[in-house]
């Protein structure tokens, strides 16, 4: 028995050492998550417009085209519960936050990062945002959440080729030049990926949105909900009832709350095929268009509010 244990340990030791050495090396590599967390740590008290959400926001909102101090705090596949966690993490710092802008897309109310195909990103919130999403070992480790092949490439790329893997701009916009993909093909695959039969997360999502609204009203922050523009090949492949449920839910929420507005830009006619990198993500041109459009809509709300205030005085 002792011989068995001894030999097994000796056999596994090189592997253990290899993995243990990898973990700190990987954690030391800069990434979008620790960059954004550091940015918020230092600047959250100065931000007046905060954009949260998933890849639709990450690639779709460029704060360079938004007036005032704005920041894009989104990440790929960041679900609504994580938006709320980020908001809560700096809850005492949002001194200047006037507008919190949250996308309500086709999948927003029904999906969570952990249950989607990008579930391996959960570790980023545990490790780099210090938001304790889970106690699972695999979700608290770089080595255990990404395959060795990719990890070796990441280490080589950073430590040998000196490539920094941060893919967002200073203000959080995912400004990498994404290669355009086939709009018909991606329309089908993305719609399939985003369509669900499981609506069990809906009530929890509504609760989270209500808590965000509640927090915002106490903090004197206005919430802007919007639906990101998508190309027709995506829209036409969606499940009508899931889409209708999303729209009805958000409409009801806006009707019942005074400190929020909703803009449906889903099928906005100002966005053409040339504005998309794939059927549900905008490219740099599209992002500029969307950012300017939202900025204008927010300015209009701001003007309206000032007028209302002046009239009521």
């Amino acid at each position: 028995m002792k011989a068995f244990l001894k030999k097994t340990i000796i056999f596994l030791l090189p592997l253990g050492i290899f993995f243990m050495a990898m973990e700190p090396l990987l954690r030391n590599i800069p990434n979008d998550y620790n960059y954004k967390n550091n940015y918020l740590k230092n600047n959250s008290n100065k931000i007046s417009k905060l954009f949260l959400g998933s890849s639709h926001t990450y690639y779709g909102i460029n704060p360079d085209f938004i007036s005032g101090n704005s920041f894009n705090g989104s990440h790929i596949s960041q679900s609504i519960n994580l938006d709320f966690e980020i908001l809560k993490k700096y809850k005492n710092n949002w001194d200047e936050l006037e507008y919190l802008i949250i996308p309500i897309d086709y999948f927003t109310l029904f999906s969570r990062l952990r249950t989607g195909i990008e579930y391996w990103r959960v570790k980023n919130y545990n490790l780099y945002y210090d938001i304790q999403m889970s106690n699972k070992l695999s979700e608290n480790s770089e080595v255990l959440s990404i395959n060795v092949n990719s990890n070796i490439r990441r280490i080589g790329s950073y430590y040998i080729l000196n490539k920094i893997p941060i893919t967002c701009s200073e203000l959080g916009y995912g400004n990498i030049n994404v290669k355009s993909k086939d709009l018909v093909e991606t329309g089908k695959t993305a719609a399939l990926r985003h369509t669900t039969k499981d609506f069990s997360k809906l009530n929890e999502s509504i609760k989270i949105l209500e808590e965000i609204l509640d927090w915002a009203s106490k903090n004197n922050t206005k919430i802007i909900f919007y639906t990101t523009p998508a190309y027709t090949t995506y829209v036409s492949n969606l499940n009508a009832s899931q889409l209708e449920l999303t729209m009805n839910t958000i409409k009801k929420l806006v009707e019942n709350n005074t400190n929020c507005s909703y803009f449906n830009l889903f099928e906005d006619s100002d966005f053409y095929a040339s504005d998309f990198s794939d059927a549900d993500h905008l490219n740099q041109e599209g992002a500029k268009k969307l950012s300017l459009k939202l900025d204008e809509l927010i300015s209009n709300i701001s003007k309206q509010e000032r007028t209302t205030k002046a009239l009521t005085k």
């Binding site: 068995f4 097994t8 699972k136 695999s138 092949n149």
Partner: protein, 482 residues
């Protein structure tokens, strides 16, 4: 708990350590540890379903005890049917309720009668088909007086819930596994090393071959309307390797884990894709289920005795029931019926036991005839797997229609071609290793007693390296849904 998870990588050494270092002096303590570990292992998914296992255990234990003293045949039958009804009742409710309801509604509406019936949102308890059959085998064997009912409740509970094979087999017979819980287990170095080796091979099959093949098969099957016939053939071949490596990989890990604890489980797969006819395939595929159906269904209804019509009926019954066991969908029933059609000519011509030895025994390669037979059997199997994998019958037929169209001769093209190319390369290496080790319990078993230590270690590390470098996106074991 999944075998290919970090949770299990932590769970296994802890249980192993307690089992051999703390509980090793006392058999009862060891059995108690097996039960507790098994309940933790199972409860990791959903602890609520533990109540089903506990209830089944209690029912079958009590029925066993009553059968011990009962000599009245009628009362014995009632006891047997109590166990069958309870176990199959659970299985029927959780697995087949919605299927039967939907089909009744459809059937009535076909005759013009509309019935209002709502299907239930039922979660299928993991492994219910496996442990139900295992515990049923105990009661039936006791009823038939082939097995002495156990008085040791702890040993019986450990037998029903033994964690390595609880959720996806091998479906053990009480005659093989239960007595192992009565005897004191002593640690055997070579058996433990052999267990680890089989676990490693199982992990390779699952993580490298099955998970990578799954990615491609899923892409092609989910978007089959967009692809050419040649691509769909590739999709079916990838699924063929996915299901084999997924399921036999699970069995290897289960058998290997059992060896670590001093238990011997039955071989569940014996290189089925090297079979020369369908009868041989079914002697080598999911052996524990095939023999279960043979002993508890096929033989009791007459087996291959009687006239031709009886043989045909019995063959269809066993294959269709076996198909239906896999899931509440017509696709599984058709898959079973198709296999019955493949099998029937061999049975009727009395050629179902022609190939009972290992192919090309003592030779490096098969001869031309064997190669041809293997090719034909493999092709028939691939064809049948299309029904098994399809969403519904319509999907299966449209899949087949595309295969047998002009587009069969187009160059395959699909999303994920790069993964497919290296997966094909890995499958080729895998087939070579399986071919070399086809006489053993599992492909790399021979390594334990023929090679030098340095060679062995180099091979083990190569396998581990391959697992880490080529691991596919983690997929749940297919057979969990059954």
């Amino acid at each position: 708990m999944l075998f290919n998870s970090i949770d299990f990588a932590i769970f296994l050494p802890i249980v192993f350590f307690i089992y051999w270092f703390i509980a090793n002096k006392n058999l009862k303590l060891q059995n108690l540890l097996v039960v507790l570990a098994s309940y933790v292992f199972y409860g990791w998914w959903d602890w609520r379903f533990l109540s089903l296992i506990i209830f089944s255990t209690l029912v079958d234990y009590i029925v066993g005890q009553k059968l011990r003293t009962e000599n009245n045949e009628f009362k014995r039958k009632i006891l047997l049917w109590t166990s069958i009804l309870v176990n199959l009742g659970f299985l029927g409710f959780f697995k087949y309720y919605n299927f039967f309801l939907d089909n009744f509604v459809t059937a009535f509406s076909f005759f013009g009668t509309e019935i209002q019936a709502n299907s239930l949102n039922i979660i299928l308890p993991v492994g219910i088909s496996f442990y139900t059959f295992q515990t049923l085998s105990y009661t039936i064997d006791v009823y038939k007086r082939k097995l002495e009912p156990t008085k040791d409740f702890l040993a019986f509970t450990a037998f029903v819930s033994f964690f390595p094979q609880l959720v996806a087999g091998p479906i053990e017979r009480a005659t093989n596994l239960l007595p192992q819980f009565y005897k004191k287990r002593t640690f055997d170095y070579s058996r433990a090393v052999d267990g680890l080796r089989q676990i490693l091979w199982g992990l390779f099959k699952k993580i490298v071959i099955a998970d990578n093949s799954a990615q491609i098969a899923n892409e092609i099957f989910n978007n089959s309307a967009d692809y050419s016939g040649s691509t769909l053939v590739l999709g079916a071949i990838f699924f063929t390797f996915q299901i084999y490596c997924d399921f036999s990989g699970y069995s290897d890990i289960a058998i290997g884990t059992s060896r670590l604890f001093g238990f011997n489980l039955m071989q569940n797969f014996a290189f089925p894709y090297f079979s020369r006819d369908i009868a041989e395939f079914w002697r080598r595929w999911h052996i524990s289920l095939s023999t279960w159906f043979r002993d508890y269904l096929y033989i009791p209804i007459g087996g291959s005795r009687g006239g031709t019509s009886m043989k045909v009926r019995n063959t269809f019954v066993i294959f269709i029931v076996s198909g239906f066991w896999h899931g509440a969908n017509w696709t599984f029933i058709v898959w079973g019926a198709l296999n019955a059609l493949y099998f029937l000519p061999l049975l009727l011509l009395n050629r179902n036991r022609t190939n009972t030895d290992t192919v090309a025994q003592g030779k490096y390669l098969p001869n031309l005839k064997e190669f041809y037979q293997i090719g034909i059997t493999f092709s028939l199997t691939v064809l049948a797997w299309i029904f098994f994998r399809a969403e519904n019958i319509g999907h299966a037929f449209s899949y087949l229609a595309t295969i047998f169209s002009k587009s069969l001769f187009e160059i395959p093209h699909f999303v994920g071609m790069q993964t497919a190319i290296y997966t094909l390369f890995l499958i080729a290496i895998f087939i070579i290793i399986e071919w070399i080790g086809r006489n053993e319990q599992y492909a790399i078993a021979k390594l334990g007693f023929t090679s030098k230590k340095s060679v062995r270690y180099a091979i083990y590390y190569s396998i581990i390296l391959a697992i880490f470098l080529f691991m596919g996106q983690q997929q749940q074991f297919i057979y969990f849904q059954f």
